[in-house]
Point group: C2
Chain length 301, copies 2
């Protein structure tokens, strides 16, 4: 699981900072999460191939989270993309994109599919054989969702020495990986646990931006390996955070601690701060495993 931060600053793109966008590579899928203005250039700078992106998740319709979407779709089109593109985002995103494509008379050659969200409860919005994605309803000034990416358990791992010892033929291997016991020719039952190892523990990643401090998300994100949580402000701006429905670093760390997550990554910093170091310092007073997102940074998780 690899997370690349294309942008993690709040409000407006600036000379050296970019609005929210990130790429999650997980189980050989490549998911784009949010798409602020300039995301297509950030993808280029970070050498992420456009063709790898087939699903885009948009948290909410504030500009710093989706103004780059129409440009990215248009560029995909100009580059003669063929693969279908799936967009998951708040109701309205389809109307915005289609209106612009219609007025520019630039209909893409690839299939463009919208999965519009309006549910206020967590829901499953994507599933394939390897993983699933659920929404994390957040509390912000407009309708907003975070996204929970969960790997499905892998099949059990074959204990090559054991199957050799019992002289089990290859045609049974798939059954064994699927957890089945084996009956030998002499009627002996060999338990699956004797023939396999446990698979790697499935990983999970939760993206939560933008939101006010909100304990309602705890049951959804409980125990995730990695939580990206917005921390727009330091504790000195606690009241401003509440007023603008954002979170402080301490509050984000409190969510991480209560949800017993593995790692906390902070981001969505207000551009009022000249350095982001204090976000880590303040968060670590509550929760020990804190990482700071920054534009262009990759995390191997």
């Amino acid at each position: 699981m690899k997370l690349t931060i294309l942008g993690c600053y709040a409000a407006t793109p600036r000379t050296f900072t970019n609005p929210t966008s990130q790429v999650l590579e997980i189980k050989n899928r490549c998911f784009l999460i949010d798409c602020g203005e300039g995301t297509q250039v950030q993808l280029r700078k970070n050498k992420i191939k456009f063709s790898k992106i087939n699903q885009i998740f948009i948290s909410h319709l504030h500009g710093d989270h989706f103004y780059g979407l129409i440009g990215l779709i248009s560029t995909f089109s100009l580059l003669n993309r063929n693969n279908d593109l799936y967009i998951y985002g708040p109701k309205g995103v389809k109307e915005i994109i289609l209106l612009q494509l219609r007025l520019s008379n630039s209909w893409p050659n690839f299939g463009l599919h919208f999965y519009e969200l309006e549910n206020k409860e967590s829901e499953l919005i994507y599933e394939d054989e390897k993983l699933k994605v659920k929404t994390i309803p957040l509390k912000h000034r407009i309708y907003t969702n975070g996204f929970l990416f969960e790997e499905k358990p892998d099949k059990r791992k074959l204990n090559v020495e054991a199957v050799r010892e019992y002289q089990i033929e290859k045609c049974y291997f798939q059954n064994i990986k699927n957890g089945k016991d084996i009956v030998l020719d002499d009627g002996t039952v060999v338990l699956n646990s004797q023939l396999t190892f446990d698979p790697e523990k499935p990983k999970s990643y939760a993206f939560c931006s933008d939101t006010v401090y909100n304990e309602a998300i705890l049951p959804i994100i409980e125990g995730v390996d990695v939580l990206y949580h917005e921390a727009t402000f330091l504790q000195s701006e606690e009241k401003l955070a509440a007023k603008t429905m954002h979170t402080t670093a301490v509050e984000a760390a409190t969510i991480a601690k209560k949800a017993q997550v593995g790692k906390l990554i902070l981001g969505h910093y207000s551009t009022r701060y000249s350095t982001i170091d204090l976000f880590k310092t303040e968060a670590e007073t509550i929760f020990s495993n804190v990482l700071l997102a920054d534009d262009g940074l990759s995390f191997d998780l």
Copy 2:
């Protein structure tokens, strides 16, 4: 008159090139022409104050000419702009902007005025005491206008020595600047030409992008001081230029020559070329005074 090129490359923003946007400073006004994705960052990089921009002219609704507009308006709003903003562009631009502002629940505090264009003839769209702006109907794949910026003649310049010699009182100076003759107390008529110098010749600037080679614009741009004309392709891609309704450098130079303009600035280069030098070389076979636009370049005209 100063022209700052924020971006002058075609199709898509890339790591080191930006889509079309430029700032024309003329008679203490600051006009933004086109607004591709990333324009707000280019304004910052080129140290152009957001507050100076009150009029934005959009040539057409292809993404590389206007996808940065919604972001710029939103940033103006976040920065608590007060001044009204006037946007001149093809019919549809208002619907696109208002839909996004409505769905993000981010209505600006300043007045936002749209002057939507659908006329296929040249028309006067802006006028104040110092200058006027007319459309230049262009031929492209969708409805497109260039823009002609024309200074109005300044008042005549007072010949300080002459008015002193005739002992003319200050209260008449305004009339003299306005071109009036003066009758002295003894009945002598002093002609205005004896009391004033000619003002500087009014300057003019024509922006023409995107368009196929189109001689119909010649009467509108005839004799302008500076013509910015798109030159998306070199002559080797002449057929592709016609097919995509763009212009080659040679064709742009032919327009400049036939319109007897002062200077030709080329831009809107296809990103297929690793260097832009050949655009100048090819254009100069037809017209001698050729400049190459490039991102971040300023021209004092």
